[in-house]
Symmetry: C2
Subunit: 213 residues, 2 copies
DNA sequence: ATTCAATAATGACTATCATCATAATTGACT
DNA sequence: AGTCAATTATGATGATAGTCATTATTGAAT
């Protein structure tokens, strides 16, 4: 390469982030942006990895240095957004509402999030449930930890001085939520049906009074 | 096409099972047998659909008249066996044991079942969670109904005259089991870890005394 | 026996995911 | 500036899942 006025002089300040690392990050950002836009516009199945590479201005093989597979790419594309969505929901819980209602506000919010694009959520959930690449474990754990952590916070206030372990209760609440989500996204049940059952299950789990007609 | 799964041929009379239907069933049986053997011997990824077709003595395209995809085929291959395994487990519950212990004997049995071939269970579970073909919904529902139904039976005796709804409790127990299974098969946790948490969660759910060291 | 519409089977073909041998880039060191 | 090892990028290529136009089979009706 020519020129550049030999700007090696920058090397004086930070040994941390060189051209190399900057390039990688920029490239990854371009890939995720391109993938996101194409998936949104055309759907997952109708978007080829070559199209994504083209849109991101990289070689077709380069894509697979950043994601192990097309499905794996979907996790990278949506992980940050999902974490942010979950945090947002936990940050704006209905005040003074019952724990069940608070949890339901989060779960309903996540259902709404997934409503945006069912096809993408189907493939995404498959990857979250059984990742095709063990390299994605950390990212997925982060998401699950945010949700389970938030739930534990609610459970803590719910149990109060009671006997239950909040972490364990949170895990159960999450499991019940996850199954409801899966039933809906997987096509086994309607959204309203799943949500209604979910609420009843949470009420029982958290030991509230169950009003039955 | 799109003939319903396991449809009797209503056209003729009841007794009449034509050559056509017999042929289809024989062919399907051959396909499932071939697929099963090859998957077991070589693994899922290493087995091609052409190999299966060859072993089943059918054309390569014919395979896809019976299963929508290679993954979908896996559900067909294992559904009956899984239903049988679950029924077997429910039929031999430990007598007079606590509901938690009874449920755990079933869940441990299912974990053992999946231990046989983790790779296959990974792909199978993905399909069970989010079926790629809506045509498989009936088959999957059958499996889930067997498990949830059995759990409801245990829950019924557990709750006795108590307030809880056994069906709802069974659904929650199943959800907690499912999440434990997924955590393990998906690689997020060790089997023993998952099982231990599962037991604690069930104890809490069913309102037993929680003995803690 | 012949006809024929419906159903089922076939395998040549296509699309594309992912790989991999090769090439380019980077930065540390001289 | 020059050298070099390590890292990153590339795109031609291979492998194969799934499609589809064509052909074969079935069985009810005549």
């Amino acid at each position: 390469m020519t020129s550049l006025a030999t700007n090696q002089n920058d090397r004086g300040n930070l040994h941390e982030i060189g051209r190399r690392e900057r390039n990688k990050r920029a490239k990854k950002a371009r890939i995720l942006k391109a993938a996101r836009e194409l998936f949104d516009k055309q759907g997952f199945a109708e978007t080829t990895t070559s199209e994504i590479a083209e849109a991101a201005d990289i070689g077709t093989g380069t894509l697979f240095l950043y994601a192990r597979s097309k499905e794996d790419l979907l996790v990278l594309v949506f992980k940050d957004e999902m974490v942010a969505a979950a945090q947002e929901l936990f940050a704006h819980l209905p005040r003074r509402a019952s724990p069940v209602t608070q949890m339901m506000s989060v779960f309903k919010g996540m259902f709404d999030y997934h409503s945006q694009n069912i096809e993408l959520s189907q493939i995404l959930l498959r990857e979250l449930v059984i990742p095709s690449s063990s390299e994605r474990t950390a990212e997925i754990d982060e998401l699950l930890d945010v949700i389970r952590g938030g739930l534990a916070g609610i459970a803590r206030q719910a149990c109060g001085a009671a006997n239950a372990d909040p972490e364990l209760t949170a895990r159960s609440a999450f499991a019940i939520y996850y199954y409801s989500l899966i039933s809906w996204i997987g096509g086994a049940a309607q959204q309203t049906e799943s949500l209604a059952l979910l609420r009843r299950q949470l009420s029982a789990l958290l030991g509230q009074e169950n009003k039955r007609a």
